[in-house]
């Protein structure tokens, strides 16, 4: 006869030694089957043969920041960081007058401060728009000058990182309201408006950005009345705005679609008109949902600014390429591309981490 009441309150025991601890971790995560064991060993071999030569090139055999190209060419076994230190200011600021280059530097700082502050939910208030406006005005003063004793700098001399950031941030800021209208238009029940918006969005999304830049650089001058001309930077900016508006409209449409029907019905029940309903009830929710995809759009947009090199503007990639065309530094493309690659990467990676975090927060909020 078994005792019905078994021993009560058994104590917790430690798991068997072979299932926990570093050895078990290795077995479970690296050697949990014969093919994983082979893969692990192969990958370790690959890393062992690739990482030391790379580190040698990057650090141990590299020439320091004071190296000249002659020295570097004599021993080509390591990176030549002298190239970066000599061309640093050109790559970062382009042809901006040398002694005025603190101005683009401050511009970069202003933009980064604005972007970082915008990541904080506490600042998602209407008054923060004013902060942005003030920041952009400050940037305009810094870059152009001509007031407050700053010498005037033509925008043909702008280049490097400030140009990359200006093209993408201004493009985004102007395209944003346009994209809201496009997204609303696409979901509108007025057929003519809907057709126009769908055509615009699909047209832009169906063609490569280069063709828009071409259009802006060769067709835009034809579109304007005789005697009116706009400069290259503005033309590129217009192309970017047209491009960004279509992609952002799609992100916002996703947000609008995610709003439950009940919200629309509730708003109608309150007797609100269309614009009131959108502004007070639908858009705030839709935009909150659309922020992660919008940030993703911005990331690809930030990378795409590098295409302006094709119409002859010198953004970060353009200045790096121009620096490489200096005869004494020709061939040091690894250093140049690694350097600007890291800059691009830091911007894009931090933004993508931020968008992932937002998405997680959003999901958590929804589940509650």
């Amino acid at each position: 006869m078994t005792d019905n009441v078994q021993s009560v309150g058994l104590p917790d025991e430690r798991p068997p030694a072979n299932t926990v601890g570093p050895i078990a971790w290795l077995r479970n995560n690296l050697f949990n089957s014969w093919y994983n064991a082979i893969l692990t060993i192969l990958v370790l071999g690959l890393l062992a043969s690739a990482i030391p030569p790379f580190l040698n090139w990057l650090l141990f055999r590299a020439h320091g920041f004071d190296a000249t190209s002659t020295v570097c060419r004599q021993d080509a076994g390591g990176a030549c960081w002298g190239f970066i230190s000599e061309k640093l200011r050109f790559i970062m600021f382009g042809m901006f007058p040398w002694e005025q280059q603190w101005r683009p530097l401050v511009t970069i700082a202003v933009f980064i401060a604005l972007l970082v502050a915008s990541c904080d939910r506490r600042f998602w208030k209407p008054w923060f728009g004013l902060v942005w406006a003030a920041g952009l005005a400050l940037v305009a003063v810094l870059m152009w000058g001509g007031v407050f004793g700053l010498t005037y700098v033509e925008n043909t001399l702008w280049g490097g990182l400030p140009l990359t950031i200006i093209l993408s941030v201004i493009g985004l800021a102007v395209a944003f309201p346009v994209s809201i209208l496009l997204a609303l238009g696409r979901r509108s029940n007025m057929p003519a408006v809907k057709v126009l918006c769908v055509t615009y969005i699909e047209l832009i999304r169906g063609v490569p950005l280069i063709s828009l830049l071409f259009m802006a650089s060769v067709m835009l001058p034809l579109f304007l009345p005789n005697g009116v001309s706009i400069d290259k930077l503005l033309r590129a900016q217009i192309a970017f705005i047209m491009f960004a508006a279509a992609y952002m409209a799609e992100a916002i449409r996703g947000g609008l679609q995610a709003i439950p029907k009940g919200q629309y019905e509730a708003a109608d029940g309150l007797g609100l008109g269309y614009w009131q309903k959108m502004r007070k009830i639908i858009l705030p929710q839709a935009l909150a949902i659309a922020i992660p995809p919008l940030v993703n759009t911005f990331i690809s947009f930030f990378k795409d600014t590098s295409l302006v090199i094709i119409i002859g503007l010198y953004d970060l990639l353009g200045t790096a390429k121009a620096a490489l065309s200096d005869p004494s530094w020709r061939g040091f493309y690894r250093e140049a591309y690694l350097f600007i690659g890291v800059i691009y990467w830091i911007f894009c990676f931090s933004m993508s981490k931020y968008s992932q975090k937002l998405e997680r927060d959003l999901n958590r909020g929804h589940r509650r």
């Binding site: 078994t2 019905n4 009441v5 078994q6 021993s7 009560v8 798991p15």
Partner: protein, 261 residues
């Protein structure tokens, strides 16, 4: 064993005495967390067992060890004469004989109800399609959902989906059926239709292990009720004895909590 439990009351039906599940000294850990502690369990053919206990006590983990959806680290589990080890062939053999019904149905959404039911017979039992469909229809009739055979799971209510899930398991002609809280994801009005199907199965002599909080079901159908708490089997007894005269303090506490609801 069954005599031991039938203090006073008779078993509701006679059991063959043939053992189909035997767990001896089963222990399991999730990392450092000791989730199953020295579980000993023996189930006979045709026996109907209800497992209950507070949430997080390891009920799901225990029945999921029985078809190796979870791996135990110490002790032995023998199902129908086959011991569950790392041997993949044995695991597949056991899984064909053990059906399982999940809390969230887990029907295949891209297949029709009928296809859900014929998938395993065709690919595991190597049954001709026509035969598999015929059998599937007969089981679907038995769970009273044959007219929905061409529909997709997404078109059915929760109760209907769970009945399809039961039919899907039955199509493999399992020797044992495991149920993991089959009614707790259902709206109250659908609980009964699923319980009725389960009662029907019990009456046909299916060996069943059922994790559930439906105490009415336990009282009317079960041969034995097992109470688990903190990873161990605290008490097992006939429903009458279990509900009227619980032996352990922990069982009493648990019963007072759920019966007062």
């Amino acid at each position: 064993m069954s005599q031991a439990m039938s203090q006073g009351t008779k078993p509701k039906h006679t059991l063959s005495g043939e053992e189909i599940i035997r767990c001896t000294g089963v222990n399991k850990w999730y990392g450092e967390f000791h989730v199953l502690k020295n579980v000993n369990l023996s189930v006979q053919k045709g026996e109907r067992i209800v497992v209950c206990g507070p949430s997080g006590s390891g009920k799901s983990t225990m029945i999921r060890c029985l078809n190796r959806l979870e791996e135990h680290q110490k002790g032995t589990i023998v199902i129908d004469g086959i011991e569950l080890t790392n041997n993949l062939k044995n695991i597949e053999l056991v899984r064909r004989e053990v059906g399982m019904v999940f809390q969230h149905f887990n029907l295949f959404p891209h297949l029709t109800v009928l296809e859900n039911c014929t998938l395993a017979p065709i690919w595991v039992r190597k049954m001709p399609k026509a035969e598999a469909e015929e059998r599937a229809m007969s089981y679907l009739k038995r769970v009273r959902i044959a007219e929905q055979a061409k529909k997709y799971p997404g078109q059915l209510s929760g109760g209907q989906q769970q009945r399809v899930a039961i039919a899907r398991s039955l199509c493999m002609s399992p020797k044992v059926m495991l149920f993991d809280e089959p009614t707790s994801a259902l709206d109250p009005e659908m609980v009964k239709e699923v319980l009725d199907v389960m009662i029907g199965l019990a009456e046909d002599g299916m060996t069943m292990l059922c994790v559930t909080h439906e105490m009415g079901f336990a009282k009317s159908v079960a041969d034995r009720v097992i109470f688990m708490d903190r990873g161990e089997i605290v008490e097992q007894d006939t429903p009458d004895a279990f509900f009227s005269n619980p032996k352990s303090e922990r069982t009493r506490l648990f019963l007072s909590q759920i019966l007062n609801h």
